[in-house]
Amino acid sequence: MYKTLLDIRSTIIPADRHVHLVHRFALPQGISKLVITFAYSPKKLEDMTRINELVVSAVERYVEADSRMAAYGNPDYGLLHNLLTVSLDDPAGFRGAAHRPSPEQKIFLAESEATPGFLAGPLPSGLWELTISLHEIVTDTCQFHLQVQSEEERRAGV
């Protein structure tokens, strides 16, 4: 039986970049598994005019004058994405992070196993924190959906 502990949908905009959204929630006792479902969209910036503007300003800001011509033409530079990452803390401290580009993530933690990036182990009751770090927002708006669910320990004979 899964119980939903939080279910949040939100819209963010480029002005929100470099913000950490901390979601502090209470985990009850007797939980054997925690499941985090996180998705955001869009991932990719498609607007060519905007891409060009952003590439030009990044090259001007970060590349020395004599290397700029090569940088403008770098095909990899035209692939601009939103990047939101989740990290998790239990009442005692760090429990993991998913620093990866995928815009759709299903993360679980249990006593003996966890999704790569996260630390398996007991799931103590108390205040936990789920942080969404807004590394980059290049699209005019971006929607995310965050859900945290818990599964109770199965008791013998029940």
């Binding site: 020395e64 620093h99 770090s133 980059e136």
Partner: protein, 356 residues
């Protein structure tokens, strides 16, 4: 008095962040590349280190724990156990890196700037270093060679020049390389750099290396600057006090500070060694005239044309007003012409004139 030079790869990722290989797969590939140590520096997590001991035994390679602080204002590599416990990148703002570095040091770790001039947001989020640095002494190193074929990347050339500028300002900081390893497939055209870290084999060997675990000794070697970076041959540099024609004094090695007593007529005799026998199966430099340089704060001090084979050069040179010395090797490898190897520095201090 010998130094054991350990081949290290100090910047790697696994499936625990955004890479495609597991720690075990990467360790196997690293062992085949004849590395002695790899540091696991996943983005913002340490979960990839679970099961590390098994991987160490199965793959026969040592693994240093670490993490890449992948922040909004820069990427910073941390090395050393349990750094995550006391230092949290999410609580460090653009002006607070000194606090972050203090937290890392308190947890027994060290830290270095990763790829300081790689293009930044939104092309590569947080990749360009934008933290304000108050105290350079808090930083232990700077990754001047990032990625494969690092000598060909303009952002690395800029980092190397920046390192030189810092040294000329009197800031003593170690320069290292890191592959930023994300997958185990290797292609033939790319060159892979190695950072050699020097550990003294007896207690007189080196002023910095005074015991501790292998891990602690590696961290100390980095902090001290007992490090040499290369695409192939291992370059080392030493300086021996020349007290008279026949009498020699102390020998200084990479990272040491050599004091010149010029008022007594003392000079330094410099030895550069290029060892072409290391990790021999992993790289080739076709026969050519290579340029071996002794570089100091005032520019090139001396240059030797050498053939592609193990070489030792020695010279007694005028080192007046030099702040530091390092060796650099130039030539062509895989058809790419450039810097092939460089050492860290021996720092130079002129002794105050003594009144006799």
């Amino acid at each position: 008095m010998t130094i054991d030079w350990l081949a290290c790869e100090l910047h790697t990722h696994t499936i625990h962040s955004d890479a495609t290989h597991t720690l075990s797969e990467m360790a196997e590939a690293a062992r085949e590349l004849e590395f002695d140590w790899i540091a696991l520096t996943d983005h913002n997590t340490v979960s990839g280190l679970i099961g590390k001991e098994t991987v160490v035994i199965e793959q026969g390679i040592s693994i240093l724990p670490g993490m890449e602080w992948t922040t909004f204002y820069g990427h910073m590599l941390t090395l050393g156990a349990n750094v995550q416990q006391t230092a949290d990148w999410r609580l460090i703002g653009a002006d607070d890196i000194g606090k972050g570095l203090t937290d890392i040091h308190e947890s027994g770790g060290i830290a270095g700037i990763a790829h300081p001039f790689r293009i930044g947001s939104p092309i590569c989020t947080g990749c360009f270093w934008e933290f304000a640095i108050g105290k350079w002494q808090l930083l232990d190193y700077i990754e001047v060679w990032n990625g494969t074929s690092p000598n060909m990347k303009s952002y690395n050339r800029r980092a190397f020049e920046y390192w030189t500028e810092l040294l000329n300002l009197g800031i003593r900081i170690t320069a290292l390389s890191g592959r930023d390893w994300h997958h185990s497939q290797v292609s033939g055209e790319t060159t892979i750099s190695v950072t050699y870290l020097g550990l003294g084999l007896d207690d007189r060997a080196s002023e910095h290396d005074s015991g501790g675990t292998a891990e602690q000794r590696l961290l100390k070697a980095i902090r001290h600057g007992a490090a040499s970076v290369t695409l192939g041959p291992l370059l080392t540099l030493s300086a021996t006090e020349q007290l008279s024609r026949t009498e020699t004094g102390q020998t200084y090695r990479l990272g040491d500070t050599a004091v010149i007593h010029s008022s007594n007529g003392n000079t330094l005799s410099i030895t550069i060694e290029a060892d072409f026998g290391v990790r021999k199966r992993q790289w080739t430099i076709v026969q050519q005239k290579l340029s071996l340089c002794l570089v100091g704060s005032k520019g090139i001090v001396a240059e030797w044309k050498i053939v592609a084979g193990s070489t030792i050069v020695e010279a007694c040179l005028d080192l007046t007003d030099e702040l530091w010395l390092r060796a650099e090797l130039y030539g062509s490898m895989n058809g790419q012409e450039g810097l092939l190897a460089f050492t860290n520095c021996i720092y130079i201090e002129q002794a105050k004139t003594t009144v006799s």
